[in-house]
Amino acid sequence: MDTSFRLLPEQASTFAPDVDLLFAFLMLVSGLLSLGIAGVIVWFAIKYRRNSAADRRATPSHMLLLELSWIVGPFILSMILFVWGAKLFFAQRHPVEGALEISCVGRQWMWKFQHPNGRAEINALHVPLNQPVKINMISEDVIHSLYVPAFRVKQDVLPGRYSTLWFQASKVGRYHLFCAEYCGAKHSGMIGEVHVLEPTRYQEWLSDVVTGTPQMGGGGRLFDQLRCNTCHMTGGEVSRGPSLLNVAGRRVPLQNGQQVVADDDYLRESILRPAAKIVAGYHALMPSFEGQVSEEQILQLISEIKAMSQLDAKKPEGELKKE
């Protein structure tokens, strides 16, 4: 990690140059404005100091045009800034399709990450270079906030609800990872490092089972352990519970006639409080898993369910619907 003294943070993601450009523009505008105002104040303060011989005749007490100019001018300027900032923000909040999904659980006071193949790490995050990465985050206790200054990204991590963050690293190296939302005694200890690796190195690291804690296929094993497939047949057969193939990210028709998008929050709710939203045509048979699975395990199950959808999506349409 570069620990030398600097005035601007490193640019290590595709967002960084955009944000810095906007920042530089704002700096320029506000620098000019504040220097201008300060200059004028000093100039007037000296020129019109009492007992100076300056010309004080014809002093208007108001001028509508001037007033309007410093209402309209800043308005236009601020709208430019709004649109510019909003466009960048919108991009930051909408992950591109096909991003590498890493799950993250925050708790007092550590970060736990898990990669798609099950490899987990604590207070460290390895990501491949030049590949979009999406992090699905949840907290086990209070609100935390995942912050990587070099990437210019930050998102609060909430208890009871998923939030996401995405970026595409653009420079190999090690960068700070902070918790930015105050979370208790060791808040400043809830830090870690992001390691941006070449994609091949990342693959090596993923499969390096010697140094890490391998949890290969953690979601799948859990799926078996909890006997999910007694009801949720993965083959697409008709069974007591709805099939989990091709559920993630799709609309699900509910018993009450409404529809719901099977996003992470819906899947989590269905594991913890299955009866809250019953799929049309099924009964409320499933037991609650509240208190039996940890947030990490839920994330594993969700990624397993997502994997089923992706696997299946590749199959031709005919195979999907078995008669």
Binding site: F5, R56, W70, F75, S188
Partner: protein, 551 residues
Amino acid sequence: MNGAVITTRKRNYLNASYTVRSWLLTHDHKRIGLLYLIGVTFFFVIGGLAAAVVRLELMTPRGDLTESETYNKLFTMHGITMTFFFLIPAIPAVLGNFLVPLMLGARDLAFPRLNLLSWYLYMLGGLMTMWAILAGGVDTGWTFYTPYSSTYSNTYVMATAVGVFVAGFSSILTGLNFIVTTHQMRCPGLTWFRLPLFIWSMYAASLIMVLATPVLAAALLLVGLERGLGIGIFDPAMGGDPLLFQHLFWFYAHPAVYIMVLPAFGVISELVACFSRRRPFGYAFIGYSSFAIAILGFLVWGHHMFVSGQSVYAGLIFSLLSFLVAIPSGIKVFNWTATLYKASISWETPMLYAFGFMGLFTMGGLTGLFLACLAIDVHVHDTYFVVAHFHYIMVGGTVMAFLGGIHFWWPKMTGRMYPESWARLSAILIFVGFNLTFFPQFILGYLGMPRRYHIYPEEFQVLNVMSSAGASILGVGYFFPLTYLVWSMFYGAVAPENPFGHTGLEWQTASPPPTDNFEQIPVVTQEAYSFGPDDALRGPSEEVISIVQAS
């Protein structure tokens, strides 16, 4: 102006009686203002000491002065005492209490007993909070975010929340009193557009106090009930949403920033007008902009929540509205600057503070644009950039205006002049110390140093040391007025009725004013700030010069 040679004092509100009882049970708005002054000074010192320890700790990147728990309690103590017990009451409750009836030509506020009650509530709330701090402290930060405050923190959250809750009522009652007084008790001839700008901004701030504070009370009550009884409105385990707390909290706490800074605008308008001997340029626009800020200020709280998990759509709305609130603030700065044009400016201490305010508030306001701007806020949210920004607004703005106002009205409040050269020296020290303290924090923030960090990466040390060094200068700067103002109460030169040659009604009565403010209710026939042509060219009155030199 014949006050220079007054030796025997007329009966005034200070010497009307001397007993402790006559002070503690007083209904006189001027005395209550002074009681508040004692209160806010006490809490300012407490909050300042906490800040001093925080800055000392941050001299090194390791946590070698305090434990993490202690550090967290210190910044919480700093935040809570400074916001709720210093900044919010500072200008409204001290200067506002003293000046509103005087400026309106009234004998007192509409509800004097309520006014006294609000001081007691303020002190009660403050002392409860101090008790919580002494008993073991509280570590939630001044924002009390759930579920940390409601479920996880093991500190005295309840006692603190109750303290702030009680102090909130004081704020509500003060605001209510000012609004009713402004509506009902203006002296004959004092129409809305003849009011001093201080009144306009106090009125706007009072509106916020009355309408926003109850929501804070509700939010704190819910935190307390969740902690004490388990009524889990914000608890995800009971189906609640922690973000709802943030909405309620910031619905109060963002407008609260304007409770702090609107009265400061009012003070600056008075100072700029008086020391440049001109009616403020665009009087009406300055007045309207106070209302625009008060109303728009209620529409922007969501910019504290861009990364909180609030919807993207709501983020866009709040960002747009946040930009809009910058415009009326800009109007004020531009108008003050324009007031200086072709003016007759004298550089007495209050004016130095006004200059300082204009510069620092401009920087604070402009960095507010960075925070309103979505993509940049994502990066700098909850970093030292935010810390620097709001200190520019609150310390560079409110505290500068408060000190300027205290100096300006000191002769009226105490009947004595402050020592001019000491005052100028400390004004300059404060300005320099302030910038050295907080400017490096902008850089720290953009580099990514999160706020509320006890231990931080080593590369941030240089800037932190600069900041701490600045804080020590700032501390010295604040120490001077504390001492020389107390000194001047007893040994300062006797002040004339109107030492600075201002036009407001408060200067038309004796210094200090009699208990009922005016010998007879004044009748206003002119607009505010009607400086005569002579005023513009004339220097400070001969008497004042001799007084200043004598001190």
